[in-house]
């Protein structure tokens, strides 16, 4: 299966190569400017690619849009997440893109750099209506390509009852608070591990960066990486201390976190909004009262990570104007709330968060507040590769005992050899 897919990519690339007679990558390139979108209702067929649950549910959901725009038709193709990157890359090479596609935030830089994405028409979309961290993830070289669709961010889940048993009644507010709580739960409330943090593996950078950002560190400075800084090192040191002080497990088997948290073997962990539902389901009746979510603890700031997905229009779209109108509809606050009710994707549009569906849940409200102070990695084409190297170094830090300064230095060296792709 997989090998076939690779061969398919090779064929597409080969087709592109046969065209590549003359050579020379032009440096810089001209700035893209957005063209205006026509007035009136959307018409014609709008082809959309979407991944995961979004791909399954969007076709049904778009019926409300076609009710408002009777001459338009939305055709959704569902794509599995792990095939998404290659499928979009192949479509770009063959100039056979759909009108609209969901673009994972980590793909954004790469696909925008190909020049295949249409710049966001600023007359249709107001930057300020989105969470700033989410909007920033669409921006490449000063131009926005696409709009944020839904978001997620990270907070600290902790067992309220066990914290109280250990004598802690307020949610942790600072780095020190978090550490104190983890220790106290271990010493006084009988939990095995006071805190769970990802000890490496795919995506562990998403757990590390909030601490680094809170401490004032940045991923890039200008067009260079800036991993090797005192702020970063200090954050890594703090992160590592949870493992060296035996507050966090280094080899928790997959799928063990939730049952351990429910059983009181783990006192706290860091995760995104999807865990609220999982915990309520696994914990059973009454468990919802036993845990709470706290925003990221503050060092200099309380910055968290913002993820989620963007949605964009391709330059080769056959039905560009209607495609943008569809995205405009998806960005309406009331549509965003409806979409949340349909698939529990959190709205990227700030004003949608005033709806009782979102404000009614105390834990979700914390995430809503956290989204105002959350950052995404810079939208650079090589980010996926850089973050993979980052993850390996985090693993060495957490499990292998590599010291924090060396980790910061290694990430910097590896990232620099990969480059920012510009």
């Amino acid at each position: 299966m997989r090998r076939h897919r690779r061969i398919a990519t090779a064929v597409v690339v080969a087709a592109a190569m046969t065209l590549a007679a003359g050579c020379g990558r032009d440096s810089g390139g001209s700035q893209d400017t957005a063209k205006a979108v026509s007035d009136g209702k959307a018409t014609g067929e709008i082809t959309v690619w979407a991944m995961g649950t979004e791909g399954e549910k969007l076709a049904d959901f778009a019926k409300d849009f076609t009710a408002e725009n009777p001459d338009a038709k939305v055709t959704v193709t569902a794509i599995p997440w792990d095939a998404a990157h290659q499928k979009i890359a192949g479509a770009i090479a063959a100039k056979q893109t759909p009108d609209v596609s969901m673009i994972g935030t980590t793909f954004q830089g790469e696909f925008a750099k190909t020049g295949a994405l249409d710049p966001t028409p600023t007359d249709l979309f107001a930057k300020d209506s989105y969470f700033p961290g989410a909007w920033d993830s669409t921006v490449v070289d000063g131009t926005a390509y696409g709009v944020p669709w839904y978001v997620e961010t990270r907070g600290i889940y902790y067992r309220k009852d066990l914290a109280a048993k250990a004598g802690i009644t307020a949610p942790p507010k600072t780095w020190d608070d978090l550490k104190t709580m983890a220790k106290a739960m271990q010493d006084k409330a009988g939990v095995k591990y006071g805190m769970n943090l990802q000890p490496g593996k795919t995506g562990s950078w998403q757990s590390v960066m909030p601490f680094a950002w809170s401490n004032g560190a940045e991923i890039t400075s200008g067009d260079k990486f800036s991993f090797d800084t005192p702020e970063m090192t200090e954050a890594l040191q703090y992160y590592q201390s949870f493992f060296t002080e035996k507050l966090a497990p280094t080899n928790l088997p997959e799928g063990q976190l939730e049952p351990d948290f429910v059983a009181g073997r783990i006192g706290a962990f860091m995760s995104g909004p999807w865990h609220v539902g999982i915990l309520n389901e696994q914990g059973g009746a009454g468990f919802a009262d036993k845990f709470a979510v706290a925003p990221m603890p503050v060092k200099k700031t309380g910055t968290s990570f913002i993820g989620g997905s963007n949605i964009a229009v391709f330059k080769d779209a056959k039905n560009r104007d209607s495609a943008w109108k569809f995205l405009q509809w998806l960005s309406k606050p009331d549509v965003q709330v409806k979409w949340y009710k349909a698939v529990t994707d959190l709205p990227a549009v700030q004003s949608a968060w005033t709806d009782p569906a979102l404000t009614g849940d105390a834990n979700l409200k914390v995430f809503g507040e956290q989204l105002k102070d959350a950052k995404a990695p810079p939208a650079i084409p090589t980010w996926e590769q850089v973050s993979a190297a980052f993850d390996t170094e985090v693993e060495k830090l957490a499990i292998g005992g590599q010291d924090a300064a060396a980790t910061a230095k290694n990430i910097e060296t590896k990232a620099s050899s990969i480059g920012t792709g510009s």
Binding site: V11, A14, M17, A20, C23, G24, Q385
Partner: protein, 314 residues
């Protein structure tokens, strides 16, 4: 039909028969017409991509150039020199080498033992064993991964539970960088030996029984018979098995992909997995170069095996 006509024409050259080269041409056209569907598919989907990948490996094509292939530079052998200073590639090459060096002999020995057992009169319920041994080879790797992850689970796994019965505290097999690769080797050997066993079994059954009878009369024991009759006569089958298994293990991909994602600490990253990742990161030129290095390694290993195991004139 054509052959008969040609022979007749050859014997009795007549003035009004078509010239021989014209006839040959017509025959060639017929031949090509039959071969065309396959040839076209082969050229378009196999030969061209292979050549294109070679060209690709000499360029710096990245995913960001997809829409504008004119931006691509020919960089000569830069990708190849970069490979051998790439820490990750060297790591993956080392892992793959260990996998081949340990995995191939292990799989072959188990397969041969199973085949010999099934071929001898010692075992009962042969059909059951034959099916049981072969089953993993036809089972989806995803289903296998689920079972093996359960077996190797550090807390609830069967293996560690058995070990704890005799007082050993089992490791986190897949979560520890020193045991992850051996775990995958064991799993692959288990998964692949059934296929080899069937082939070895066919080979064993091709050995004439009277050779063994004669050897028994001469007073040769079972072990001596195995060494002096079975192994030499099985050599072509063993060669086939070694080459096929060697190629399969050099291309190791599915096991780490479904079980460990190359981790922990890249201890199960294989060359194919590295190539897959690089394609994923959009480094097409670089990934193509790595593919060619793997290709050369496969050819090299196969040649070596033919040298070592191939038929000798004795």
């Amino acid at each position: 039909m054509t052959a008969v006509q040609e022979k007749a024409a050859g014997e009795v050259p007549l003035r009004d028969t078509p010239a021989p080269d014209r006839r040959r041409w017509r025959r060639a056209v017929t031949g090509w017409a039959f071969a065309a569907p396959f040839t076209v598919l082969f050229v378009v989907f196999s030969a061209l991509p292979v050549v294109a990948a070679l060209v690709l490996s000499l360029t710096d094509l990245r995913s960001t150039d997809l829409r504008n292939p004119f931006a691509v530079n020919f960089v000569g052998f830069d990708n190849y020199t970069k490979l051998f200073s790439d820490e990750l590639f060297l790591k993956s090459a080392g892992n793959t080498l260990i996998f081949v060096l340990v995995g191939v002999p292990l799989t072959m020995v188990i397969a041969l033992a199973a085949a010999t057992g099934l071929n001898s009169g010692l075992l009962r319920f042969k059909a059951l064993f034959r099916v049981g041994f072969y089953l993993p080879a036809v089972t989806s790797i995803v289903a296998i991964a689920v079972i093996w992850r359960f077996l190797l689970d550090p807390e609830a796994g069967l293996l560690n539970n058995l070990l704890s019965l005799i007082g050993i505290d089992g490791p986190n097999w897949l979560g520890d960088s020193s045991t992850a690769l051996p775990s995958l080797i064991a799993m692959s050997a288990w998964r692949n030996f059934g296929f080899l066993m069937v082939i070895f079994l066919a080979g064993l059954q091709g050995i004439p029984g009277d050779l063994y009878e004669a050897a028994t009369i001469d007073g040769a024991g079972r072990w001596q018979q195995f060494r002096s009759i079975t192994l030499p006569l099985l050599r072509p089958t063993l060669l086939f098995g070694a080459v096929v298994t060697g190629i399969g293990y050099l291309q190791l991909f599915e096991e780490p992909f479904v079980m460990t994602q190359g981790g922990p600490l890249n201890s199960t990253l294989s060359v194919s997995y590295h190539i897959y990742n690089q394609f994923g990161f959009g480094n097409y030129g670089y990934a193509a170069a790595a593919s060619y290095v793997l290709f050369v390694a496969i050819v090299g290993l196969s040649v070596l095996q033919f040298r070592l195991l191939g038929s000798r004139e004795d």
